[in-house]
């Protein structure tokens, strides 16, 4: 091997490429930084012209996100005892008092429950099915696998009405269980396809050795295959979780009070005279941050996840 390789890009071309990509990254991250920073702006700062890059940080948006507030008369306001807590103080600055808790906390918890519930169920069912597809002769295997994938092509609205009617009959409308089952049904195609890819990569010899040692199929699956597939299962789980976390169409069409998740809620946050942008931004930040962290954790398997295992690095 010579020190000079024809396929290695020259230093100049590397630098130019780096500069261009950095410029793109700045442009593409600007809206995200803007969301995060708007969450820490006061109401007037958030809608000033020209848009403010430097501002005095305020927790108003976060306080507004978690509370409901009312405006009271001037005499009443003057007669109030001094504010007891820091958040009372922030709210008083805009001439209002806290009337109660908002529903954001509830909606966020719903997202957590439904997200984790459907992820656990998708992974449980998906691992079993993926193992069977990977290791056994299942009749009509290719047809079944394609069938599982094709369910993903359906526009959600095409099935929303029958699901709505069906759930009403079964008492599942607007329940956590109903949404968990629904998101599992949507995610299972991804789970089966991804997990099959991961299990295919585990050499069969390991299990065969275990079977010869007297393990049953179940034991071999549990003690040999599952530990080997752990990374694959974890990354598949994160993909399922992100999907359930982000889903909007079914959530807005099929839930209202009880089981509604955060995505349909955040756009409905309104303040006096229009949307309360710092509060919306605060809600969006809290909601998007976990996904950003997961994406960074997941970066090695990202490509596989988004292409249903069709492209592997």
């Amino acid at each position: 091997m010579s020190a000079y390789s024809v396929t290695e890009p020259s230093r100049a071309s590397k630098s130019i490429a780096a500069v261009l990509v950095v410029v793109y990254a700045i442009i593409t991250l600007l809206p995200l930084l803007w969301i995060i920073s708007t969450g820490f702006k006061s109401g007037p700062d958030s809608i000033s012209y020209p848009p403010r890059v430097l501002f005095e940080p305020s927790l108003e948006g976060y306080v507004n996100l978690f509370t409901t507030r009312t405006r009271i008369g001037a005499e009443q306001f003057a007669a109030l005892p001094p504010p007891e807590t820091w958040y009372d103080k922030i709210v008083r600055q805009s001439g209002t008092v806290i009337a109660g808790q908002s529903r954001f906390g509830e909606r966020f918890m719903n997202s957590v429950i439904i997200g984790f519930g459907s992820t656990a169920l998708s992974i449980f069912l998906g691992t079993l099915a993926a193992y069977a597809f990977s290791r056994f002769k299942v009749p009509l295997k290719d047809d079944l696998l394609f069938f599982i994938l094709s369910t993903r092509m359906m526009p959600p609205i095409a099935v929303a009405i029958p699901i709505y009617l069906m759930y009403r009959e079964l008492g599942l409308s607007d329940t956590h269980l109903g949404m968990i089952l629904l998101y599992t049904a949507v995610n299972i195609s991804l789970a089966v396809w991804l997990l099959k890819g991961f299990i295919d990569e585990i050499p069969r010899e390991y299990e065969e050795a275990a079977l010869i040692d007297g393990y049953t199929r179940f034991q071999a699956f549990r003690k040999v295959v599952l530990p080997q597939a752990a990374t694959g299962i974890a990354s598949t789980a994160i993909f399922c979780l992100i999907f359930a976390w982000n889903e909007y169409a079914f959530a807005v069409l099929l839930t209202s009070g009880n089981a509604q998740t955060a995505p349909p809620f955040i756009p409905t946050i309104i303040g006096v005279g229009g949307q309360d942008w710092p509060a919306v931004a605060a809600g969006a930040t809290l909601f998007l941050l976990p996904v950003m962290i997961f994406t960074i954790l997941l970066r090695k398997h990202l490509l596989r996840g988004i292409t249903f295992g069709a492209v592997r690095k």
Partner: protein, 315 residues
């Protein structure tokens, strides 16, 4: 490892007997493992789909359960296919699809090609660039309405800074014909990284020796690009286009929150129109037929495309 009585018994029992007594046959296990998934999909995907097909032949309205349901045959289909609305919605959808896919392919491929120069820190930059596509489209769509505000929005301000057009002189979401570009911009912002990642995988799959051989043959860089790089990345690129095509045909959440189909019907994609018919006008029978038409269209187009993709792969 723990040594339970069962483990000890296992070892004491002759293997062939143990298999027969304690283990299910492989075939039984296969069915046991696959059945729950298939059952769930039948119950929550296929059964509702068949129900939608059934409803599409009726005049049922989900908000009036008491009314007698009439069988109307193919009348719903006839009305949809002969209405002017659906064709203009299809055109809106096509405009959205063609532009988002073109922009994403061009920008995504260019980025991947640049990142493939393997400069220092390219891994970190890739991870950062990828962030937008993982976020909730609904929350993103909602937030972009803020960025698009004529006076105070960041987008308009940046346009003013770069081109001198006053920020308050145009409104991306209002009347004036810009709304259909506003959804294309947001979709491109979100999904370019998707195309980029897939192209990057394609570029990295090309073995170095092919370029080395071309270099020995004195092929110019330009020629290498068109005869090696492009053909070898093409199957990957086509896969990315397939995914984006299917997703954007179904596109609902981001656009609903950004424009809601407006102003007027300017950004009324077929899927948003479908939602209006089904959940605002409550014409269940009609919208079921609409849904079936859309589903068949995606499925048909996707199948033809996959055939073309397989041909490219075989080459």
């Amino acid at each position: 490892m723990t040594d339970t009585p069962i483990d000890r018994m296992t070892r004491a029992t002759p293997r062939s007997v143990a298999r027969r007594v304690r283990g299910l046959s492989d075939r039984a296990i296969a069915w046991l493992f696959v059945a729950p998934t298939i059952f769930l999909l039948l119950a929550i995907n296929i059964f509702p789909l068949i129900w939608t097909v059934r409803l599409s032949f009726t005049n049922f309205a989900a908000n009036r359960p008491g009314r007698e349901v009439e069988w109307v045959g193919l009348r719903n289909y006839e009305r949809i296919l002969t209405s002017d609305g659906i064709w203009s919605n299809m055109q809106t959808t096509a405009h959205f699809l063609i532009w988002t896919i073109t922009l994403q392919v061009v920008i995504g491929f260019t980025l991947a090609w640049l990142i493939n120069r393997k400069f220092k820190g390219n891994d970190l930059l890739t991870t950062l660039i990828v962030l937008p596509m993982m976020l909730s489209p609904a929350v993103v769509g909602n937030f972009w309405t803020f960025l698009y505000q004529p006076q105070i929005g960041l987008f308009n301000y940046m346009v003013e800074l770069l081109t001198g057009t006053p920020a308050s002189s145009f409104s991306m979401l209002g009347a004036g014909g810009l709304a259909k570009w506003s959804i294309i911009i947001v979709d491109t912002w979100m999904w370019t990284p998707f195309v980029m990642l897939i192209c990057l995988a394609g570029l990295r799959s090309i073995p170095d020796y092919i370029y080395e051989a071309a270099e020995v043959d004195r092929a110019s860089k330009w020629r290498q690009f068109w005869t090696i790089t492009v053909p070898m990345v093409l199957p990957f690129l086509m896969l990315a286009v397939l995914f984006r095509g299917i997703e954007n045909f179904k596109m609902f959440d981001m656009v609903v929150l950004l424009t809601g189909g407006g102003p007027g019907n300017e950004t009324l994609l077929a899927s948003i129109d479908l939602k209006r018919e089904a959940f605002e006008k409550w014409r269940t029978g009609y919208s079921s037929a609409y849904a079936i038409i859309l589903f068949v269209t995606v499925f048909g187009l996707a199948s033809i495309y996959v055939k073309a993709l397989n041909k490219v792969k075989e080459r």
